[in-house]
Amino acid sequence: MRIRFFTWQVWIGFLICVVALLSYPLFFVRFPVTRDFPWANLFLYCVATVFLIVGLRRAFGVAGTRRRRILGFVLITLSLLVFGLFCFVVFIFPRQLPPSSAAPQAGQKAPAFSLTDTAGRTVTLTELLSTPLSGKPPNGVLLIFYRGYW
């Protein structure tokens, strides 16, 4: 008990690292401002770094003991791993998308398709482009391809 509370800053720093990791997919992705570049999460990591440095200086300082130093070392290693995981999840993994170099470009014809809607009806691209929208034919259609709901 005494050890944990003496180096409480290191624990706080570690907890902030975990929160900074989880809060991106659970919260910050909902807002384009914090989603497109995770500045809010990086700010949390800066705050965590301050706590970790303060806590480590105490653990390795005059009043530090071997157990406190080990604890400090373990927590900072875990914090770095959490930060590494965050970087992977936010910067590396999501960029591993296929090149899609043969996707139709502006000026090309959109490939026709015939797919099933949520009511089980078959719908074609031609129908989507001609069926009235608010009483008149649509100016166009926005095809939104997505991964799926899971």
Binding site: R35, F93, S100, P111, F113, T118, L128, N139, F145, R147
Partner: protein
């Protein structure tokens, strides 16, 4: 979207029942279509092999604005799964179709 005369259409490999639930929860009023064999997805070159649950092929995220003649006028192929087209970008592109 309605105000600029654009009909959004969402497409994924999910079966109609799953898409129905998704559309219901998200409050979508536009068509959500199922492409279980990724046929349309393949014709648009958007197949992301093995990236879905149980290793199934799914679509990588992408948006295509198609005009009334069936011609693609604007595309968005994000290079980062987290970064999606913002509504303002789409509305700007929709002005091309007026």
């Amino acid at each position: 979207m309605n105000a600029v005369g654009i009909r959004p259409v969402a497409i994924s490999v999910d079966p109609p029942e799953v898409s129905l639930e998704f559309a219901r929860k998200a409050g979508f009023t536009f068509p959500v279509l199922s492409d279980p064999n990724a046929e349309a997805i393949r014709s648009y070159d958007l197949v992301h092999k093995g990236a879905g649950a149980n290793g199934r092929d799914i679509a990588r995220p992408a948006e295509f604005l198609v005009d009334s003649s069936g011609t693609v006028r604007w595309i968005n192929l994000t290079d980062n799964y987290w970064v999606r087209a913002r509504p303002e970008q789409i509305l700007e592109a929709a002005k091309l179709l007026r």
